[in-house]
């Protein structure tokens, strides 16, 4: 029971970190960046390659993955989304889906289709025993990273100047421009932060479930998007709560109901929540959407 709860929270924490990328981009650019899940996959591959082929230590590999993903995120935004800033939201959505397939197939060409086993970077660290349940180091790191990221982002958006600019852009793009805020820069920055977080999520995901394939990011991407909607898309605490709830529901459904129905139950809960709270769990209470 406790073991399932911990597993659920750790899986949910990874979902939450991915969900942040969706929720921030949606909050500011009002678009669903479906290529986000595939940025995670790229992050996984970059850290895999730097550890296996270049022999980098794990922290350096994570840093490199973050740099590559941040650059990738900004590039995607510049090349694919910026020209469509004034286009209909449907056009942007289709572009995002296209970008997702582009990244998957590019990975297929570069890294091949054979699954790779991600090295365990916490191999030498013993799991902690807690009330009869074992907490693996990666679970602990995922939970702690999630909390740190959440606190840091909340402080960033409420205390710093660029953070405030982000909130302003999310409230009203036109007014923000009139107030002298560089909207394009702010949007690029959002993509950069989201993609950097995707790299962290990618490394955590691949360490916890070490198979790396070009499609590795797609299912967690969809689940994290669900988590973002669940918690109220556009809201940072919403992404965290949504992600953790989703992870816990998924693990419990698999443990106590049925492993085949687990995914159906997860999405079923989303539907029920959306019927009663169309803006998600925290969608209404939080006014500033970042």
């Amino acid at each position: 029971m406790l073991a399932h709860l911990i597993n659920g929270i750790s899986l949910g924490s990874i979902y939450a970190i991915i969900a942040l990328g969706y929720t921030m981009v949606y909050g500011i650019a009002k678009m669903l960046n479906f290529a986000h899940g595939d940025v995670i996959m790229v992050g996984g591959y970059v850290s895999f390659c730097s550890m296996m082929y270049l022999g980098f230590p794990a922290p350096l590999a994570v840093l490199l993955a973050m740099i590559v993903c941040t650059t990738l995120g900004i590039t995607i935004e510049r090349l694919a989304y910026k020209p469509l800033r004034s286009a209909t939201s449907l056009a942007v959505l289709i572009t995002a889906i296209g970008m997702s397939y582009f990244l998957q197939n590019a990975a297929l060409i570069i890294w091949g289709a054979n699954p790779k086993a991600f090295p365990n970077m916490f191999k030498d660290i013993e799991a902690i025993e807690f009330a009869g349940a074992r907490i693996s180091p990666v679970a602990l790191v995922a939970i702690v990273a999630n909390v740190i990221i959440m606190v840091a982002l909340t402080l960033f958006t409420s205390r710093t100047k660029v953070g405030k600019a982000m909130r302003a852009v999310s409230e009203d793009k036109g007014a923000a421009t009139l107030m002298g805020i560089n909207v394009n820069f702010t949007i690029s920055l959002t993509f950069a932060i989201g993609s950097g977080l995707a790299a962290i999520a990618g490394v955590l995901l691949c360490t916890a479930y070490p198979t790396l394939m070009p499609t590795t990011g797609s299912m967690p991407g969809i689940k994290a998007f669900t988590a973002a909607v669940f918690g109220g898309i556009g809201s940072i605490p919403g992404a965290m709560i949504g992600g953790i709830l989703l992870g816990v529901i998924e693990i419990f459904a698999r443990a106590y109901i049925s492993s085949e129905l687990a995914d159906a139950i997860v999405f079923g809960v989303l539907i029920v929540v959306l019927i009663f709270r169309p803006t998600g769990l925290l969608g209404k209470q939080i006014h500033e959407k970042v």
């Binding site: 073991a3 399932h4 597993n7 899986l11 895999f48 296996m52 297929l108 091949g112 289709a113 054979n114 699954p115 790779k116 086993a117 991600f118 090295p119 365990n120 191999k123 799991a127 074992r134 693996s136 990666v138 916890a208 479930y209 070490p210 198979t211 790396l212 394939m213 299912m219 998924e250 693990i251 698999r254 443990a255 492993s259 085949e260 995914d263």
Partner: protein, 402 residues
């Protein structure tokens, strides 16, 4: 202008459809029976097709089969007996629809017999087509009963699932490997479910206690629940009738949960040591039932392992051995027929005629084939093979016979 273009396209489409019809018609008629050359010899060139996943999650299997078959074909062609084989391998990415497309591509090439398909789910789809087209199929490794059931032209070189499942249970029981068994299987996969069912039936018959049965589906990466269930029920052996990719995740997650039972797999586990980046120490002690072990000391195996290693730089897996044996079994069958009927020239023989010949030989009680996966392999009329299974255990990152 637009009309012109349209009419051009129409003409193109008509021409294409006509040629397609032509090819379809050919398979039915044409060369009838043995092109007897009189001396009981087998001559001519056979167009042999291989279908399997050359890319994608199960690519290790498809490539191993294609490589193994290639070695056999090269050996046969080098013999200079007047009989040669032309080999073509098509990729199906372990997908039923793509597999049928690959099959059609081989037909366009003029394939006469098929060594495939490699994986079960695509094989069920392709074998249904091949059955109505009358194309002979000898699958190296698709082990479900549904592959051969009701299709007289489809034969298996590997054990059928019921045999794998019951043989595993029998082996575990005979060698007293466990008192409490857990099973984790993929219930979205015919292969996995098939083995699970027969394992369970046999285990019940033998009185082997199954304490945990959990399932997963193709997208699953989190096995904490399945592993936890086996652990909390005190299973000392986990039976994994699944492919190696999820198996690698289960091994890793069991290790991080501090759970160290014995693991027992079937032929789908073969390939786990070749995953790039996989920590092979996790697979230490994993047992699997396989008809082929690369460390066997008979001449056939030694020759095959040496050649495979020379060409591809790795130790051949069971799938490579299956592919190798497929080519030789088909050759043996054709030779058997040629010897009985005063010779056979297979060049340009229609696939339908060849199909009938091969069916008659494979179901002939006097016919048996030798290979690296077993000596004296015989087939029953259901298309299932009968040979002796072996178990291997992984020690220091290599398979060792048990």
């Amino acid at each position: 202008m637009k009309k012109k273009l349209l009419s051009l396209i129409m003409v193109g489409a008509m021409v294409l459809s006509m040629t397609a019809c032509g090819q379809g018609g050919n398979t039915g008629s044409g060369n009838t029976g043995s092109g007897a050359s009189g001396n009981g010899a087998l001559t001519g060139t056979l167009k042999l097709g291989v279908i399997g996943p050359l890319t994608g999650g199960a690519a290790i299997y498809g490539n191993a089969v294609a490589n193994g078959a290639k070695i056999a074909v090269d050996e046969i062609n080098a013999e200079g007996t007047g009989f040669t084989i032309e080999l073509q391998a098509q990729d199906d990415e372990h997908d039923a629809e793509k597999s049928v497309n690959a099959y059609h591509q081989l037909q366009d090439w003029g394939v006469q017999a098929i060594a495939g398909t490699v994986t079960t789910t695509p094989c069920i789809a392709v074998s249904a087509e091949a059955n109505s087209d009358r194309v002979f199929m000898l699958t190296p490794s698709a082990s479900a009963v549904a592959v051969t059931e009701g299709k007289d032209n489809v034969f298996q070189l590997c054990f059928a699932d019921p045999n794998q499942g019951s043989a595993s249970a029998q082996y575990i029981f005979d060698n007293k490997l466990a008192t409490k068994v857990a099973i984790i299987y993929n219930n979205a996969d015919a292969y996995s479910t098939g083995i699970y069912q027969t394992f369970k039936a046999k285990a019940a018959e033998l009185g082997l206690e199954v304490v945990s049965e959990t399932t997963f589906t193709d997208d699953t990466t989190d096995f904490s629940v399945q592993v936890g269930d086996a652990q909390s029920n005190g299973a000392d052996l986990v039976f994994l009738p699944i492919y190696y990719t999820p198996a690698s995740l289960i091994l890793q997650q069991a290790a991080s949960a501090g759970y160290e039972p014995k693991f027992f797999g079937v032929d789908g586990m073969d390939g786990i040591l070749t995953i790039e980046g996989f920590d092979t120490s996790l697979a230490e002690g994993v047992m699997l039932l396989t008809p082929f072990s690369a460390d066997a000391t008979d001449d056939l195996t030694k020759n095959f392992v040496a050649k495979y290693n020379e060409s591809y730089g790795e130790v051949p897996s069971q799938f490579a051995a299956d592919g190798y044996d497929c080519a030789y079994a088909i050759k043996a069958a054709l030779e058997f027929y040629a010897a009985k009927n005063g010779g056979l020239d297979v060049t340009d023989m229609s696939s339908a005629d060849l199909c009938e010949i091969l069916i008659s030989v494979f179901t002939d009680p006097d016919f048996s084939a030798d290979g690296v996966t077993g000596l004296g392999m015989v087939w029953d009329t259901n298309g299932q093979v009968n040979k002796q299974p072996k178990a291997v255990v992984i020690k220091d990152g290599v398979y060792v016979g048990m």
